[in-house]
């Protein structure tokens, strides 16, 4: 996001730095080498491992029952968790940015909590709260609605871990925009709902989309919290990251790395979408991001 300012029109300038060119080039080379070593090489290794027996063999592994089910489960979980988190994040950001109340700082800290809590702890919290040995969980299991070791637990764990993404993206934007637009709309006789729909939402749509993309990337990739609540039933509660580990431990490296490649590919698509957004709407995004 910060590189947006680099694309601003050049104006006549003095060299801002006084270092010799070789220092500049050395630093650039160092950064590129570091990136190549830490990011591109491992990513490349994943794709090379996946394609070692040819593209067709790799794609075939994705067609197997366990693999298909893992992909479908991951997409289902993301499709439930991301819209819910978008709605909750919007509500939380709205509440924090547009109202004054005691304990606001505390609420902001609370929203950040999933970033600082280890995912394993998050998973265990869900097991303790909704597992068969808890009061709620016991009742739900007895009535045929298991939470833990079933889809709802995986969705809950994913939502917990990815909750901050949308809210954190929105809060600074909404605080910066203030309440003036909404107040004007209300003065002109708009209802609260209409104000939200025609004033607030269009103002934050880029930030919201950003948050949703980040949230989605993390939701599909989450491992720790989901591993605790999944029960690891093949073809039932194994998400893509869990299935990758299973394949790897079963010496099925082509299947493991193909699925890892697919997950990386989905992440790259997310990044591409983000970049396209930036290219197409650089000015609007810059406006919403200038302040943070």
């Amino acid at each position: 996001m910060s590189d947006v300012s680099l694309s601003a029109p050049a104006r006549p300038f003095r060299a801002a730095t006084t270092e010799a060119p070789w220092i500049k080039w050395a630093l650039i080379a160092l950064s590129v080498a570091f990136l190549a070593l830490m990011v591109f090489a491992p990513l490349l290794a994943v794709f090379i491992e996946a394609l070692q027996d040819g593209l067709w063999v790799a794609l075939e592994t994705l067609g197997e029952r366990d693999a298909r089910s893992a992909i479908w489960l991951t997409l289902t979980v993301a499709a439930i968790a991301v819209p819910l988190n978008a709605a909750f994040g919007l509500a939380a950001a709205w509440c924090i940015a547009k109202y004054d109340f005691r304990g606001k700082a505390f609420l902001i800290t609370l929203i950040d909590l999933p970033f600082s809590v280890s995912p394993v702890v998050a998973g265990l919290c869900i097991v303790l709260t909704f597992g068969a040995n808890s009061a709620i969980g016991g009742w739900l299991v007895d009535n045929g609605y298991p939470i833990v070791f079933a889809l709802p637990g995986i969705v809950l764990a994913t939502m917990f871990v990815t909750f901050p993404f949308v809210a954190r993206e929105l809060i600074p934007v909404m605080i910066e925009q203030g309440r003036a637009d909404e107040e004007a709309a209300l003065t002109l006789g708009a209802t609260g709902w209409r104000t939200f729909r025609t004033v607030t939402l269009p103002n934050v749509k880029w930030a919201l989309l950003y948050g949703v993309l980040l949230c989605n990337a993390r939701a599909m990739g989450e491992f720790g919290a989901v591993a605790v609540v999944s029960g690891k039933i093949r073809g039932q509660t194994a998400t893509m990251p869990l299935q990758i580990e299973m394949f790897y431990q079963e010496y099925l490296s082509v299947a493991a790395f193909t699925m890892a490649g697919l997950l990386a590919f989905l992440a790259l698509v997310t990044l591409l979408l983000k970049t396209l957004l930036e290219l197409r709407f650089a000015d609007q995004i810059a406006a919403t991001h200038r302040q943070h």
């Binding site: 289902t76 819209p83 097991v127 597992g131 079933a150 039933i233 073809g235 431990q249």
Partner: protein, 386 residues
């Protein structure tokens, strides 16, 4: 996929202005999501219904609701005749093949095709998951003490479970062997060779790994039978251990892929599997004179059986493990089973004779666990000793 793309298009209809909607971005977004169109939604999806534009928020919500319904339909428990087998790590390959054989057998008896699910993980953590509510119909774990833990903490298995099936409810057994580098360059043939100067031994931490406890006990049993002080011998052995991994697969990786150590103490079935998967020309298996009789037990989880049909299926599943066909598959996957009648003779012949000490000879897990591996137990004393 279509659900997701309909949600996306509902989203962009809802929040993108009209002139943007048909721009390059949403098109590419749709293209990436529309690659697989084979999964059609069985119900009308919001974007297929011609709502007026002002209802776009409703569309978004209904698309979300459709997805929640899809999720609920995908949740487990709705299929007829499913069976969940919760097992431990090294049995994945065995049960994959066994499940197919059992399904065929069950269909041949005139039943509809069952869906058999499996879950694999560390034996202790799998037991923990069943206690926390994982709906296993049968458990097939590494140690009897793990199934005891389920019986004790959840009451879903009766305390006398181990007497319900033959051979202490263990349809197959295994033992601990040495995996050494090709040609056995250090000439390691028995436990006594492992304490020599300069030999590096790879074994996981007995505090966290079930297999590692067997490694430790096997060494202990050899020392007892060969006139050595077992505690001093085991202490000398662990002085030759450069790294203690958390679990058996971790140790295998340390030895095989990181190339550390001269000998890996491993489950016999894991050692053969590593040999098969990673190349017979790189490692050799050495069977010591004394080892352990590890009996990975199986049990029906009575508390998770919803009806008689499932009980019949689960009982037949466990009994099929003892059938000649099931036993032959266990041999094929490098377990020492009991009934050789249907097994490939080559699968049986690869196991050399070895004196095997059972946990009962040590006084049972209830005695061994606190005495050797508990807090301040013998392992703590020898491993922290200088």
């Amino acid at each position: 996929m279509r659900l997701l793309s309909s949600l996306l298009s509902a989203l962009d209809r809802a929040i993108l202005p009209a002139e943007v909607r048909d721009g390059p971005l949403p098109a590419s977004a749709r293209a990436t999501c529309d690659q697989d169109d084979t999964v059609a939604a069985p119900w009308p999806v919001a974007s297929d219904i011609g709502f007026v534009h002002s209802l776009h928020w409703f569309r978004m919500l209904s698309a979300g609701a459709a997805l929640v319904v899809a999720g609920a339909l995908a949740a487990p428990g709705l299929q007829a005749q499913t069976l969940l087998n919760v097992s431990y790590d090294p049995t994945r390959e065995f049960y994959r093949e066994f499940n197919e054989a059992f399904a065929a057998h069950w269909v041949a008896l005139g039943n509809p095709e069952p869906t058999i699910e499996t879950s694999h993980g560390g034996s202790g953590s799998q037991a923990r998951a069943v206690i926390d509510g994982l709906g296993a119909h049968v458990v097939t774990l590494a140690l009897a003490s793990d199934i005891d833990a389920i019986a004790r903490n959840s009451g879903k298995i009766p305390a006398d479970w181990q007497a319900r099936l033959p051979n202490n409810s263990s349809p197959y057994t295994s033992t601990i062997v040495f995996l050494v580098r090709e040609g056995n360059p250090k000439g390691l043939t028995d436990w006594g060779d492992l304490v020599a100067e300069g030999v590096e031994v790879i074994t996981p931490n007995p505090k966290t790994s079930g297999g590692a406890r067997w490694n430790y006990l096997a060494a202990w049993a050899w020392a007892e039978r060969n006139g050595q002080d077992p505690q001093a011998f085991v202490a000398a052995l662990y002085r030759n251990v450069p790294v203690l991994d958390q679990g058996a697969r971790g140790s295998t990786t340390t030895f095989v892929e990181r190339g550390i150590g001269d000998v890996l103490l491993a489950w016999e079935n894991e050692a053969y599997l590593a040999l098969k998967e990673l190349g017979e020309d790189q490692f050799d298996i050495v069977v010591p004179s004394v080892s352990v009789l590890a009996e990975p037990p199986v049990a029906l989880v009575d508390g998770n059986i919803p009806d008689d049909a499932t009980r019949a299926l689960a009982t037949a599943y466990l009994e099929f493990l003892y059938s000649p066909e099931g036993q032959a598959l266990a041999f094929k996957h490098f377990y020492r089973a009991w009934d050789t009648s249907a097994a490939d003779p080559a699968d049986v012949a690869r196991f050399p004779e070895v004196t095997r000490v059972s946990i009962a000879d040590f006084g049972g897990w209830a005695k061994v666990q606190p005495e050797h591996f508990g807090d301040g137990g013998i392992f703590d004393q020898i491993y922290t000793a200088p």
